[in-house]
Amino acid sequence: MPKLQRFTNLFKGGVPEFNITLATVILALIIGFINPKFWTVSNWLTILRWFTGLGLLALGESMALIGGGLDLSVSAVASIVSMVFAYLIEFMGFNVVTAAIVALLIAAGIGLYHGLFVIAFSPPLPTIVPAFIVTLGSLILVSGLAVVMTHGWPIVISKEAATVASLSSTPVLFTIIAIGTIFIIFVQRYTVLGRFLYSIGGNMEAARVSGVPIHKTRILAFVFCSVFAGLAGLVFTSMLMTGYPGVAAGQELYAIASNAIGGVSLAGGEGSAIGAIIGALLMTVIRNGLVLMGVSPYWHDPIAGIILVVAVGIDLFRRTRGAR
């Protein structure tokens, strides 16, 4: 392909993630121009903190979405992990590592439960139908369980405080999100699991006929999603130094939005974690920008919503226009 065509191809959606990266950069420049405080180190540390949590949720969600499914419960899983983690440390004297492992195992168990439910009903239904139902149920059920644990009281972490706090120290946060991103991207693009997942999301029946293990793969996808949600829960807990049942509340929709903006099709089989993570960055930058520009907090959600619809709309338009 001649060089000029390659270059313009970037803009036309040849590499879908390019457009949103560009959008993020431009947005950052605009916000930074309006309020130079945007460029301070402390602001970028704030962005990093928000971004890590949302990013982990979005990465996990991308696994569920690419396989043709959906996970609405990620915020609830983060909550229960947060509560269990804090509980084990504070009331049962576990050390940080063991508590984290147990909490993540619980998250994995929830993912397993989602996967089993989905494969029981799909085929013949498309994956997303039972996925929507079971994860919606979990969203409510698991959040409820997180609250039931202490009748709604948060668990302040006083034991092992230093270790717990270090989880959200800047270098650790950076490492977590960097490794998480690289790992998920690697799995999706370079491993057998990734290939299976894309084929199932693209055409489950053709994948089945080609010998792809459609049940095991989807279960794994849901487990990945929940474990990453659990990791987000650990990060949030560390940032608040509290086990809190409302942690990440509402974030599941932002996680899905990050994916949608990032080009991960909600129909499955398309997009990648690269897009998801850039989408998460974009959403974080937007939120940060709104705060810096002094926009009333009540307006944050509506504005984020509008941006989401516009961004996804542009992407869909670009994709369907290719049919002409």
């Binding site: 690697f186 699991l193 290939r195």
Partner: protein, 509 residues
């Protein structure tokens, strides 16, 4: 009839149509005209420009140059609905009906059922639907839901809809590919009946023999140009003439079967039962092409899918190289060296949103590991690329780009990708279910040549086809299947169309 050509009024003229796409000129100044009360056959290989021409007629695409003259007046067709209101109707290959609604509702959808605030008089539309259906000799209750109907009847519902819109021109796009011989006859008769009523028809199809049975004229497109018009009013035009115009090659190359040394039995099925299939047993030898012919509904696909684990079976044994294998899911079959090329490549054959490379390597991706970490094993991209490139060139897949999403390939090339993926799996036994259906003549020949090559490599090939000439032309032995049973076996020399068909059409219930 009596009057000369000069009297015949042309109801449609598509004049000097040019259409360019990035990288290819789809139509190069094509002029096609249709007379009143005429059936015009429109044939040509995939990529010749037929579907582009139709899309322009129906307003889905806009021509770069040229005009459309309908009933003597130049028109600009804005949308398929607009075309319908003008009197030009379309019966596509895949029926566009709402499966959960009834026949009557589908016929009048968007027509009398358009003003959402007006009350519908159900009785009226049911009665009118009945009248239309009886014109077409269909005696099904108009309140029946579409999903309960066979494909053949669904098609006739679409014709009824065209009649409801007072169509003066109906375009049939590959209408017979999913129909069996009896249903095809019925449809062709319907076309003749429509012609009697004064409706013109454009019959687009790859089934040239069928087109020649009813068409008054046949137009051949090739590479975006009109290359021939045949006058077929006497029904004397031969298949050979038309095919030669289409592919500019000799039709003897149609069925390129060659003698191939046949060895030992490498595949055997015994007592296969399940669904409508009853106690099917057969064997295939190395180097052999076994043809299985049967009408639609005879159980061929069911049988094939049970063999490879796509469908569960009730009983039956499968032997590869004399060893019994246990097939419970598709990956068992693949591991044992079996391959199944599905009848419906878009549904079961390819993941259209994935590129050629990922599709080809899918069945054996777990064998292309560079390290073994179960599901998280990284893929050996180098081995994969080599494998994929080899198969792309061996099968002459066009464009030869492993990154191209398969949904952008033509039907013939898509089929080649499906074949490539099963060849890459190093299968020893290949079961090909309608491998040349819905693809252009050139690609059909290529795939048949590949079948012979596979046989020459010592593989066993099972060719399931409803194209009688194909089965007879390509097979070393022919099995006839009907009502879920194998009812006859013929050696290549003994098989004749008449004998085979005789067994195929009988009832064995």
């Amino acid at each position: 009839m009596g009057s000369g050509d000069g009297d015949r009024e042309r109801i449609l003229v598509m004049e000097n149509i040019w259409k360019r796409f990035p990288g290819v000129i789809a139509l190069k100044g094509v002029t096609v005209d249709v007379n009143r009360k005429e059936i015009l056959g429109l044939v040509g290989e995939n990529g010749a420009g037929k579907s582009t021409l139709l899309k322009i007629l129906f307003g889905i695409l806009k021509a770069d140059e040229g005009r459309i003259i309908w009933k003597g007046r130049e028109v600009e067709v804005k949308s398929p609905y607009h075309a319908m209101t003008l009197g030009i109707s379309y019966v596509p290959q895949e029926t566009l009906l709402a499966p959960n609604l009834s026949i009557a509702e589908n016929i009048f959808l968007g027509f009398r059922l358009r003003k959402s605030y007006s009350l519908m008089k159900y009785g009226d539309i049911v009665e009118d639907a009945s009248k239309l259906l009886s014109i077409l000799d269909v005696s099904v209750d108009p309140m029946t839901r579409i999903r309960e109907l066979s494909v053949a009847v669904q098609q006739l519902v679409m014709v009824a809809r065209a009649l409801a819109f007072n169509a003066e021109l109906i375009v049939f796009d590959e209408p017979t590919s999913a129909l069996g011989p009896r249903e095809t006859e019925r449809l062709l008769n319907v076309m003749l009946k429509l012609k009697e009523r004064g409706i013109s028809i454009i019959f687009v199809s790859h089934r040239i023999e069928e087109v020649l049975k009813v068409a008054d004229r046949v137009v051949v497109l090739r590479d975006g140009k009109k290359v021939a018009t045949f006058d077929n009013r006497e029904k004397k035009v031969t298949l050979s003439e038309v095919v030669r115009a289409m592919i500019a090659r000799d039709v003897k190359e149609f069925f390129p079967k060659e003698e191939v040394p046949i060895g030992e039995k490498i595949f055997e099925v015994r007592g296969l039962t399940g669904g409508k299939v009853r106690d099917v047993s057969f064997y295939v030898r190395s180097g052999e092409i076994l043809g299985i012919f049967g009408l639609v509904g005879s159980g061929r696909t069911t049988m094939a899918q049970m063999i490879v684990g796509v469908r569960p079976k009730v009983s039956g044994e499968i032997y590869v190289n004399g060893k019994r294998i246990n097939v419970r899911k598709p990956s068992d079959a693949i591991k044992a060296g079996l391959a199944y090329l599905p009848e419906d490549r878009r549904y079961q054959g390819l993941v259209l949103r994935m590129n050629v490379r990922d599709n080809i390597s899918l069945p054996i991706i777990s064998k292309l590991r560079s390290m073994s970490v179960s599901f998280l094993s990284p893929i050996n991209r180098i081995k994969e690329e080599q494998l994929v490139k080899d198969h792309i060139s061996k099968l002459r897949i066009v464009p030869p780009d492993p990154d191209k999403k398969t949904m952008y390939l033509s039907g013939g090339n898509q089929q080649k990708v499906v074949l490539a993926k099963w060849l890459a799996s190093r299968a020893k036994v290949l079961i090909l279910d309608e491998p040349t259906r819905g693809i252009d003549v050139g690609a059909k020949v290529e795939i048949r040549k590949l079948m012979v090559e596979l046989a020459r490599e010592g593989k066993a090939v099972v060719l399931i086809s409803s194209e009688l000439l194909e089965v007879l032309g390509m097979s070393d032995r022919v099995l006839v299947m009907a009502d879920g049973r194998i009812v006859a076996e013929f050696k290549r020399e003994e098989a004749t169309p008449h004998k085979v068909m005789e067994y195929a059409v009988r009832s064995y219930k």
